[in-house]
């Protein structure tokens, strides 16, 4: 009999759940427009669009709205597997292409923010947790606590008022004035800083908490009794253990990067995927909304799988016990 590695069983169980939850999201996206009050055609293409009766009829046939629900669902799933997320009548284009063209801009500044935020969070949080009695450690933790209990859009609004309207240090809106690197960097500085402070403050809080818990355990005390310097205890022993809960969260940040950027993009008028979603909400452009939800869901699931694999690699306890 073939013996399957326990990690394999662990991963395949997880994978099954991810597939099921993607199926649930598909069901939500599929059922919502068809179950809501009103005409399903207008629920599917978006409100405030004038369509002639013949277009409505042909759309009804194209969506297969006269066929039974399960046939519609199979048809819908086949469409999505071919990368066809529908057609946006507000933006006059296929949803998939619109999303891809906007998503690049969001990735440009969210990925660096997550990475820098993770780096700041881990290094500052570890130090703040290790020397928790010091005044600077408390100051860092308090700032992080306040920032993370503020709704994300509020933080960006306050930054906008202070640095743009009041001090005039940064431009009002957009990704660039003239299309060159300097202009883009200038426009992206403030949104990136806000995003970094948001990610960093949450990471600091969690890292600090984890280090505070770990340092009371026996193994750091044993290391200390062996005469290992404090710095090495922190960086070679405690940090390795304390970082485990954070790894999953940071991986998830990558999954949620589009919805994380939503409020930043609205406040700073950056025309990335977040503001695309916002415009879609205002115009009730449902194809764009469902399309972005599906893309986000796929990203989140990939991020979850990555987090699982990484925790398997990093933490031998999961590998053995699973």
């Amino acid at each position: 009999m073939v013996k399957i590695h326990p990690a394999g069983i662990f991963l395949s169980q997880k994978l099954l759940r991810y597939l099921l939850s993607f199926f649930c999201i598909l069901l939500i996206v599929f059922l919502l427009p068809r179950m809501m009050p009103g005409d399903p055609v207008s629920n599917l293409v978006g409100e405030d669009i004038y369509l002639s009766q013949s277009t409505i009829d042909s759309l009804r046939a194209a969506f297969g709205l006269d066929t039974p629900l399960h046939e519609q669902f199979i048809r819908y799933c086949l469409q999505i597997m071919h990368g066809d997320l529908g057609y946006s009548y507000h933006m006059h284009g296929p949803v998939f292409e619109i999303l891809i063209s906007r998503a690049w801009w969001t990735l440009v500044y969210t990925i660096p923010s997550i990475i820098i935020g993770a780096w700041i969070g881990i290094s500052l949080g570890a130090r703040a947790g290790f020397q928790s009695g010091k005044w600077w450690s408390d100051v860092i933790a308090s700032i992080a606590l306040v920032i993370s209990s503020t709704p994300p859009y509020l933080l960006s609004l306050l930054a906008l008022v202070l640095f743009v309207y009041h001090l005039g240090l940064f431009p009002f809106k957009g990704f660039y004035d003239t299309y060159n690197l300097q202009s883009i960097l200038y426009h992206l500085t403030l949104p990136t800083l806000v995003l970094i402070s948001f990610y960093a403050s949450r990471n600091i809080l969690i890292m600090r908490g984890a280090v505070l818990t770990e340092k009371e355990l026996l193994y750091p005390q044993f290391a200390r009794s062996l005469g290992i310097p404090e710095r090495e205890i922190l960086f070679h022993h405690i940090r390795k253990n304390a970082i485990i809960p954070l790894i999953a969260l940071i991986a998830l940040d990558f999954g949620f990067l589009f919805s994380g950027a939503l409020f930043i993009e609205i406040v700073f008028s950056l025309s990335g995927m977040g503001s695309l979603m916002y415009d879609a909400i205002l115009a009730r452009d449902y194809p764009i909304l469902t399309g972005s939800l599906l893309i986000i869901a796929i990203f989140v699931i990939i991020a979850n799988i990555t987090a699982d694999i990484m925790s398997l690699i990093i933490d031998p306890r999961i590998r053995r016990s699973s």
Binding site: I28, P33, L154, S259, A297
Partner: protein
């Protein structure tokens, strides 16, 4: 689960459960009896975009309403959404958690499977989509927020229930012939209560933050004035570009203070240190 430690000097400065209960009490009072403390009735209009002066402590907004009055009346909606979404999520989470922890077997597998699957669904985008379709009233908002925030409660409750289901007092009431339902009500819920309180409080805080975000996207009830909607109005009606800090800062501070107070109260029973989960 993530553990967050509150810095010691914040505690010395008064970030204690007692102080937070007093703060929350003031907000609850404002929510129940807004008439007694608000300077004007919320229907009276004055000249718009007024700066703070002796008549209007926080000035007036674009429609000429007194901002302090709006702030006091908005407390009710913000708290109602938070508390009711919290109650709903607590009920779902506790029943699923107890059911799967107490009965185990296939019920446990099924329920934990459902919990895991719900946990993975990206909440905010799904809520946005549902809210966009429904043009929500506050009750729909409460239901949607409650339906998507019970999973962590269910997990914690399940773990705790499994711990105590084989303990002596549960076994003895089972021997005495009490029904499962009675055991759950009289023996299990009182013991897991210290776990429920922080989860409940965190859900309230989370729901309030989500409500503020949804209002900002224009997805809350347009007839209901909440703190989030006040900030959204200030953003879309020129309060920020005019730097009218007396318009957008008070609701912002109210949200932050309430969230901090609620989380601290939730940590009340954690003997040495509190726990927090911000997403």
């Amino acid at each position: 689960m993530t553990v967050v430690y509150v810095p010691s000097w914040l505690k010395k400065m008064g970030y204690t459960p007692t102080f937070c209960i007093i703060i929350l009490g003031i907000f609850v009072y404002a929510a129940i009896f807004p008439k007694t403390i608000s300077p004007y009735s919320p229907e009276i209009r004055f000249s718009p975009y007024g700066e703070p002066d002796e008549n209007h402590m926080l000035g007036t907004d674009d429609m000429g309403y007194d901002i302090l009055t709006l702030l006091i009346y908005a407390t009710r909606i913000s708290l109602i959404i938070g508390v009711f979404a919290g109650i709903l999520s607590l009920c779902i989470g506790t029943s699923i958690g107890i059911a799967s922890g107490f009965h185990q077997g296939w019920i446990d597998d099924l329920m934990m499977g459902v919990t895991d699957i719900t946990l993975i669904i990206p909440k905010i985008p799904v809520i946005i989509l549902i809210a966009a379709y429904l043009h929500p009233s506050i009750w729909i908002l409460i239901i949607v927020l409650g339906l998507f925030s019970w999973e962590t409660t269910a997990r914690v409750v399940r773990a705790k229930t499994m711990q105590i289901r084989n303990s002596g007092f549960v076994l003895s009431s089972r021997c005495l012939g009490f029904s499962s339902f009675s055991i759950i009500i009289h023996d299990i819920i009182p013991v897991i209560y210290p776990v429920l309180l922080p989860k409940f409080m965190l859900t309230i805080a989370g729901a309030m933050i989500s409500e503020a975000s949804l209002s900002f996207l224009g997805l809350s009830d347009p007839m209901m004035e909440s703190w989030g909607k006040m900030i959204a109005d200030a953003f879309s009606h020129g309060g920020f570009i005019r730097e009218m800090w007396w318009w957008f800062l008070p609701p912002a501070i109210c949200i932050c203070v309430t969230v901090l107070a609620i989380t601290r109260i939730g940590m009340m029973y954690e003997s040495n240190e509190p726990e927090m989960a911000f997403k």
